[in-house]
Symmetry: C3
């Protein structure tokens, strides 16, 4: 079996396999059950009703704590190096060492509660989100259209669906006469952790080429929306920003961030390549010598460095960030809307055509990269590291 096929079998089986294991253990391994029975049973029940599937790291932790709680210390043989899923699970369990079954049960209950809440349903997503959108909260107030990335449990990572929804929402905002400016921000500690790598999981080997082509269509259309958005576009970077959420910043008209924000585009580390027109706009805004460090060499930069490199307009201390930026955005929303729209369009016009070409070239390269050995190895390594906690 090729490494490529292995990766996708790995990701898929990790995703499905652990869930299955969790369920299986719920039924078969109750003989040595310790103290907190009722709470433990409730936690098991609520695990199956989460509105959002936990990521692989959490699944492995759930698996390990369940094993420890019901079986005690890990006493089975370590699987071979090529059994990625088995080894990841064994590692997670074994890592718990001499933790008592009672403590493991408590930790299991706490972990489930942290995701589902003690009473039951998942409450980590704030209320008020437009019901049409998964993971996004979209509002319009006083001519300010706002997209809030709203998957804090996933650090606001973007699913393919969210790419499409953001593009569609911006399309609406472009047409809406009640909208003067658009704002993108994030819920929770992160602004956005970038492309959700689980977009690459659960893909059968024979589907990879098609996945890459589909991904290109989604990404290309997403970036196209930013290139053509005819009104001022403002980012309020409330925390770390990664990957695509950083690269498209070159297409914004103002970028404000807290001093806790960081900016990271680890493309080559993941065997991938730049998007969001960053391959053209980053060298333009900060010179090749600084752009290369970000786009080729995976340098993570601070808020202040991002401001010095013209990626960010201004940095605010975290405690005043919300208040100061709301005042600015509110003022911007009050300005003559036609002047804003025509001036923004004018600013973009000299290189709109070039930006579209750059976007296509970037997406074409990603189709190749996503199917490359380097990318597959890097993502496999990423999941393995996460699995090892």
């Amino acid at each position: 079996m090729s490494t490529l096929a292995k990766l996708f079998r790995f990701s898929a089986s990790l995703s499905r396999g652990v869930s299955a294991q969790v369920c299986r253990f719920h039924q078969g391994a109750v003989d040595r059950m310790p103290a907190h029975d009722a709470e433990f049973d409730s936690a098991k029940d609520r695990l199956g009703k989460l509105s959002e599937e936990p990521d692989n790291t959490v699944k492995l932790q759930i698996y390990a704590l369940f094993k420890q709680a019901t079986k005690g210390k890990c006493d089975v043989k370590k699987p071979g190096a090529l059994d990625f899923v088995g080894k990841a699970k064994w590692d997670a369990w074994n890592k718990l060492g001499d933790m008592s079954q009672d403590d493991a049960q408590k930790a299991y209950i706490d972990l489930v509660n942290s995701m589902a809440g003690p009473g039951g349903s998942d409450t980590s997503e704030p209320a008020g989100a437009d019901e049409r959108y998964q993971g996004l909260k979209i509002t319009t107030d006083k001519k300010v259209f706002r997209i809030q990335l709203n998957r804090p449990s996933k650090k606001n990572a973007l699913t393919w669906q969210m790419y499409n929804d953001i593009a569609a929402a911006l399309g609406d905002a472009a047409e809406d006469k009640n909208v003067s400016v658009a704002v993108i921000t994030g819920t929770g500690d992160y602004y956005c952790s970038g492309n959700d790598l689980s977009n690459f999981a659960n893909v059968k080997p024979e589907e990879i080429a098609q996945m890459a082509l589909n991904g290109k269509v989604v990404l290309s259309n997403f970036v196209k929306t930013f290139i053509d958005f005819p009104k001022p576009l403002i980012a309020l970077i409330n925390g770390p920003a990664v990957g695509i959420s950083v690269t498209v910043l070159g297409l914004f008209d103002a970028v404000y961030c807290t001093d806790k924000a960081t900016f990271h585009t680890p493309f080559s580390q993941l065997g991938q390549s730049p998007e969001g027109c960053s391959s053209y706009l980053f060298p333009k805004m900060m010179g090749n010598a600084k752009a290369g460090e970000l786009l080729l060499f995976n340098k993570k930069i601070t808020a202040q460095e991002a401001c010095e490199r013209n990626l960010v307009t201004q940095v605010f201390p975290e405690d005043v960030f919300q208040k100061e930026t709301e005042a600015l955005v509110s003022y911007y929303g009050s300005l003559p809307p036609q002047s804003l729209k025509y001036s923004k369009t004018l600013n973009r016009s000299a290189e709109r055509e070039l930006l579209h070409k750059v976007n296509e070239a970037e997406c074409d390269l990603l189709v190749e990269r996503w199917q490359s050995q380097e990318c597959i190895n890097a993502i496999m390594s990423f999941f393995s590291r996460k699995a090892n906690l």
Copy 2:
């Protein structure tokens, strides 16, 4: 009557109306004249002989002081909200409150003296200016060609005539073999307060479209001259710079400023849009996220911020600005002139064609903007604010 027609009636009548009032009052309202009669009469006389018409703010102040001096405290009914001129005048008079007639007469005399000088003629313009140019002082010394914006009483605001004269002067400097480099600077506290908004006053409603087309020709030719100027061009920014005087800075080869300078391009606030190739060059020099703040969101920046954003080469403390920059300019004038000229032309060549296209697109948009409701409302609001002092 449309709002558009109202504005231009307003501006025109404010301009003509107040002058007429001033004259009328000079003849009709002498019955209650207080102490300083001879000086007051002299001031009235000299008011009609000013080489340059005072701006609307000053005219209103003259009107108010004249009323207070001759009639005493404002005791007439406040005009309705739509009578812009009447209301502006009433506000100015009423604002003087209980000022005595004698004090008002003294203030009137002082105000006229500040414009015309106690002896007579207007001496606010320094001596030595080339007689061919209104509001400009043009000199050549040791291969340095210098244009000094020379309307300090108007903060060096640019009339249409000054646009044409600067373009013509630069045309001469381009051809002159005794000129190696060209310098633009300002007289007084301001570098330049931008386009003189009175360019938009005194225009009849039916002439607006033609005014906009004429304005485009003037502005387009002005910026074209900067794009094509074949020798190094240096700005010495002696104080605040506004509008067009900021936007063309992207076309200069060195920009030195004092630490008292500020940079402000309040286009959207005035219902207008960027010019001077700033819609292309500002994003290029400082990235979209910082350019947007200036060109869309009216942010006024300090000298230091302008330097960080690459609009300015270096900032000097005000007390050494003159000396330090003269030394630099003098050195630049001593360099091999052909090398300077060919190198400057080379630096420009890669994007000369694009800059001309950008200039045309910017001017075309301004033709639309100048006739737009947003622009008319903004300028009306500007004059009303000034009229309210």
Copy 3:
């Protein structure tokens, strides 16, 4: 005789003439020889066996010390102003004033030893350099290809041969599957003092036009190699950088320097014009107002200023420069090579065609400049100043 012809006669005769003089004096002027005879004789012998010819400044110093050692204080008539060579030699000798013959002999011996070593052969070039290259040390280690400019006695100035060798070496590195990234750095105190002006010496007047055309081919091909290099390119700037070694930095993907580095492009001072695509890339990375100061006005900037102007990625204190940059380069060499290569190529693609046009335009202008009166005067003045020590 035209000034142009004079210059090249001057340079050539200075170069050849002084050597000849040195030899002639070695044979003819031994009558008044002082104390250190054996050492002095040895020094004379070794002078003729240097692997590299000393530059004109050193030759003049050798000449002067030899005269002082063998003839004593300068007592001949000062040559006329147009006898450049004679005057330069007279000035050098006369400057030694009352230095005793014994001291002059000692100084002569020390000077020769500093170039040739007390035992004999020139050891100023570190060992280990690839034997195929003059003045370059080329190595590959752990996927990092390294070009070390290796003429410390000439501050790593570039001969025409070195231009060609660097281009050829980068061509090899582009093809070599064992190379992920390429690094350029310098041996000794300087990174690179730019184009070796002796490239312009020893040229007969009738050969100038051909020299200019040949120079264009070499330079154009050199810069072309940087534009098209398909892998990440990193500069480690260990000290001052001048001319072409600065201008091509805009084509690098990362530039690290010590805090002792400076950056200087004195083109107009030398009657020349920018190359290395700097006429396009410098305005792009730092705006016209800062680029003009470097490319037109000969401003020398510090490491920190170069970093603020986006020419440099990061500045390191000199004592950690080597260690920190080696760690970075080593990490870069370990990244997925295909991702690096494709991403680098992508970053370049949007303006590759434009960069080639800029390179051609810059080289065409230099063909004109190299034959111009201004350039000839400037280089003549340069050699005269050096000759005056």
